[in-house]
Amino acid sequence: MSVPVQNPASGAAGTVNASDHPRPSQSGFSSWANRHRKWLFAAPAMIFTAAMLIFPLVWTVYLSFTNAQGSVRAPKKFIGLDNYVKVLTDTDRFWPAVGRTLVFTAGVLVVQMVLGMCIALLLRRAFRGQGLIRVAILLPLVATPVAVGMMWRLIFDPNIGPANYLLGLIGLGPYPWLAGEKTALATTMLIDIWQWTPMVALILLAGLTSLSDEVDEAAAIDGANTWQRFWWVTLPLVWPSVVVALLLRGIDALKTFDILYATKGRGGGSFHEVETLNVYAYGLSFDYNEYGLASTVLILFFALIVAAMLALTSRQKER
């Protein structure tokens, strides 16, 4: 059998008889590898993705159809859609958790977008001490959410916290903050807004700085006032950045766990007052060891996130 080989010494290619230079690896594995090289080189990344993303997802889907409880290695029964029926008809924990997740996400998104835009507009123009202010505004972003949660928990302590003390000096309060059944969710939203508005501001600022001043000036010459220039000129131009910020922050806010766990602990407080879908799924798996139900909640949650993402990106395409 003759195969084309390259002469390493001369660099000249030629046809030689394989029996003169036996190279079994080249005729077998090597040529196979050569033909499939695009797959082979992609293989490590594909194996990694499969192991880290696809397998856990498929496994979670599988668990959601079983009665897995106690230990995931224990024998489990396939129970079809029972878990889904149970979860979707649960008006005690599941639907309130869905409601809280949506309220939390929508609430923080609206405030963060508005505040973020205001900060970005302020920081857009050059001014003295600009660098210092920019760094100061970014500080909450670099703190660990769990540490942030602990810090605010101390600040908002109804009895010994500085928040009530300071408000007391001007005759306000005391407020229950995180301790109140009705105020806890709003307080956690406040913490999230404090921590993540800088990120939104940063993305919007990046969008704003790439805009040319000419359009804005043209609109000003045409007699548009500040608000009209912002609403009809700047906002449409910066819209792609707004969508990026909405998308990133939206998905992140839906998944919020650390701040809620650090401030209210397991179960989202004694009345489940800050129990979102993530906190609920965590409780089902780590407190109750009900892995079948927990997986069901997670799959439904996953569907919610994918739906939200598709809704946002399809709006973007329409524009």
């Binding site: 590898a33 490590p44 407080g269 004694s270 009345f271 109750y288």
Partner: protein, 428 residues
């Protein structure tokens, strides 16, 4: 070129295999010399950690310690033991919280032969209650290291100012004193205790027992609809609602409740005796000079505080190092180590240690008295004795927070009774 491709592919495929090979080599070499121990944040852990060198000197074995908070410890066990990991050899666990679940799942190694193998170490020296809690289906799965009972922490100065020379002996007196102190000092809570739905269950249990009640009858029937339960929940809720800290939160576990007390913001406080050092240590407590202790006040059924083994050491059934893990447990729970721990404020489960006057020489008088009384009248559990303890605690804890926040207690108890009965039926 082709040869370069072939070389690249070979390297790409060989590298993970080689790395995997290194990993397995390491795994087969180490287990005999290093004992991997996972412990909770506790005074006991701090004490024993300082003496690991002695263990290494005695046995030649090294200790690799992982130390975590209670919740993180629980989560770590859930993840690793579920996966059948051999990363953990010795595990510190809560027999009443996780013991049944872990043993049912087959996560605890059987130590029955080990505990009887060394007469000098003396398994018979352990109190029967704790031994029962670490035994599952006639197999010993753990060695109790810390026992706890509920005691009353009180401020001598505040009680004296309000005209009381002795601590409350009954729950009625407790209520009167809390009311009087709070009335005399509006900024100070007459009473403080844990308020979190699940955290409060254990400290509330002594109230329930002292009224003659319990969470269930031990045979699968919920007993939250009894008058005793109603009275106990009502008292606990009233004490915190009427005389507790202003804006009382329903999230307090022991660190928060202890902080209120040690910052001088409360007069009476019920808590586990094993935490008393937090209140007497001047470095952490502003009331170290004025704090005193007393046995749990008596209710209509007498003083019936819980008296339980709060922590034990067990061995992971997936461990490949069981013999050395046992050597660590044997050392850490020896009579000498138990005595040293008890002397530094951690109550042991060993009878001989309690009989030794040296063990409690430095203890406050009330703590010793409370332990003696609890040994006679104590109840061996402080939470429902079920497999899914966390879920049960949420159910029986709901009326506690409802009582604290002044909701309709009768309705809350009726709902809890129905839910808890359904839960017990489910576990049968």
């Amino acid at each position: 070129m082709r040869r370069i491709y072939a070389l690249g592919v070979t390297l790409a495929l060989a590298a993970p295999l080689a790395l995997a090979g290194c990993g397995s080599d390491e795994a087969t070499q180490s287990p005999s010399e290093v004992v991997r121990v996972t412990l909770a944040n506790h005074v006991w852990t701090e004490n024993i950690k300082a003496r690991f060198d002695e263990f290494t000197k005695e046995t030649g074995l090294k200790v690799e310690l992982t130390q975590l908070g209670e919740d993180q410890l629980s989560d770590q066990y859930n993840v690793k033991l579920n996966a059948g990991s051999s990363d953990i050899d010795v595990m510190m666990y809560r027999p009443l919280q996780e013991g049944k679940l872990f043993a049912t799942n087959g996560w605890m190694a059987n130590l029955t032969d080990k505990v009887s193998s060394n007469a000098a170490w003396d398994w018979d020296d352990y109190q029967p209650g704790p031994v029962k809690a670490t035994t599952f289906e006639d197999k010993v799965v753990g060695v109790p290291i810390i026992t706890e009972t509920e005691v009353l922490y009180y401020r001598t100065d505040l009680l004296e100012q309000s005209g009381f020379s002795t601590p409350p002996a009954t729950l009625d007196e407790l209520k009167q004193m809390a009311a009087k102190v709070h009335e005399d000092n509006p900024d100070i809570a007459g009473f403080v205790a844990r308020t979190g739905r699940t955290a409060a269950v254990t400290q509330f249990s002594s109230f329930l027992f002292s009224y003659g009640g319990d969470f269930d009858n031990g045979n699968g029937t919920a007993t939250l609809d009894t008058q005793a339960a109603m009275d106990a929940y009502d008292l606990y809720g009233t004490l915190l609602r009427e005389y507790g800290p202003t804006n009382v939160s329903t999230d307090m576990s022991w660190p928060e409740a202890m902080a209120v007390f040690t910052q001088g913001k409360a007069a009476l406080y019920v808590e586990a005796n094993s935490l008393y050092k937090n209140a007497t240590d001047p470095a952490n407590s502003q009331v170290s000079d004025t704090v005193a202790f007393a046995p749990f006040p008596a209710g209509p059924a007498g003083s019936r505080p819980y008296n339980i083994p709060s922590w034990a050491l067990g061995v992971n059934s997936g461990s490949t190092n069981v013999d050395n893990a046992w050597k660590f447990i044997e050392w850490a729970t020896s009579k000498e180590q138990s005595l040293l721990n008890q002397q530094s404020g951690v109550p042991s489960a060993r009878i001989s240690v309690w009989e030794n006057p040296e063990a409690t020489a430095d203890y406050p008088e009330g703590i010793v008295l409370a332990a003696q009384e609890a040994a006679e009248n104590g109840v061996g559990h402080d939470r429902p004795l079920v497999v899914q303890v966390a879920k049960a605690r949420e159910i029986v804890g709901q009326p506690i927070v409802d009582a604290i926040t002044g909701k309709d207690l009768a309705a809350s108890l009726a709902a809890a009774q129905t839910q808890y009965q359904a839960f017990l039926d489910d576990e049968k």
